[in-house]
Symmetry: C2
C-alpha cells in the first residue's frame, strides 16, 4: 500500500458504461413520469404521497418528524417544508410529542386518508404501466434485489426505528 494520491481509477468498461447510463436515464425519466401522472391525477407530489403512505402504515397514523424524514430519505429541513404545506392542505396535523418535548408528531387526518385512498389505485397503475408491467417478473425482482443491496450498502443496513416497524 502506498500513499500515492494520484492512483489510477479503474474505468468502467463500455458495457458497464452503457448499463450505468441506462440506469440513470431510465430512472430519471421514470420518476419524472410518475411525478407528472400523480400530480395530474391527484394533485399530490410523489413526496407527499410517500408521506401519506408511511403514516398510513402505523397503528395511529402518526410518526415523529425524524422517523418520517429517515423513511423517505429527506433532509429534516425539507420534511419541515413538506409537512407545513401538507398541513395547510389539511392532509396532516402536527402535535407536540408527549414523551419528548423536543419532538413533533405528524398525524394523518381523515382527509389525508381519503386523499391517499383515492390516489393509491391511480399511482399503482402508473407504476405498473411504466415499470412493473414493462419487465418480466424475474427482471423486476432482480431490480429490487439489486437496489436493496445498494440501499443496505449506503445506509449501513439500518432500516428500523425503535418502537415502530418500518419498511425494509
Amino acid at each position: 500500500m502506498t500513499t500515492d494520491t494520484s492512483t489510477t481509477v479503474e474505468w468502467l468498461t463500455e458495457e458497464q458504461q452503457t448499463h450505468w447510463r441506462a440506469f440513470r436515464g431510465g430512472a430519471a425519466r421514470l420518476f419524472a413520469a410518475l411525478e407528472h401522472e400523480l400530480e395530474r391525477d391527484t394533485g399530490l407530489s410523489t413526496h407527499e404521497y410517500e408521506v401519506l403512505v408511511r403514516l398510513s402504515e402505523t397503528p395511529d397514523r402518526t410518526l415523529r418528524m425524524a422517523q418520517l424524514a429517515d423513511n423517505i430519505a429527506h433532509s429534516r429541513s425539507r420534511l419541515t417544508h413538506t409537512i407545513r404545506r401538507m398541513e395547510e392542505q389539511g392532509l396532516v396535523v402536527r402535535l407536540p410529542c408527549v414523551e419528548d418535548a423536543r419532538g413533533v408528531n405528524a398525524t394523518m387526518t381523515d382527509k389525508g386518508w381519503e386523499v391517499l385512498v383515492a390516489a393509491a389505485p391511480k399511482h399503482v397503475q402508473s407504476v405498473r404501466d411504466h415499470l412493473v408491467d414493462v419487465l418480466t417478473e424475474e427482471q423486476f425482482a432482480a431490480l429490487g434485489e439489486a437496489m436493496e443491496a445498494v440501499r443496505v450498502h449506503l445506509t449501513g443496513g439500518a432500516c428500523h426505528v425503535e418502537g415502530v416497524a418500518s419498511e425494509c
Copy 2:
C-alpha cells in the same frame, strides 16, 4: 370492453411492493450520495457533469440546446438555467447556430474540458463504490437491461437526434 371508469386496479403483491420500495429508496439514496461526493470533490453538480460528458463526446464539443436537453432528460427551461450558470463559470459558451437562426449551440470550453478530466476519475470511483462494485456483474447487467427497457418504453424507443449519434 366497457366504459366503466371505476375499474379495479391490480394491486402490487407484497413482494412487488418490497421491490418497488427498494428501488425507490435505493435510487434516491444512491443519487443523493453521488451528488454530494461530486459536489464535495469537484464543485460540480451531477447535472453539470452530465452536460460536460455529453458535449465531450461530440466531434466539436458542441450540441444544440434541445439535443442536450433531450440527452439528459431536462426541460428546456431547466437547461437554459444550467447552461447560463455554467457559462458564468466559464465551462461552456453559447453561440448562435448558423444553420438555424432560432438555434443555439452550447460548446465546451478548454476549461470545461479540464474540469471534466479532473472530475471524471473521482465520479467514476463514486459510482463504483456505491453501485457497480456493490453488485455482481450479472446483477449490474440485469439492472442496466431492465432500466433500458423502461427508458425505451417511456421514450418510445427514440434515442437519437439527426446528424449526431447520441448514447443509446
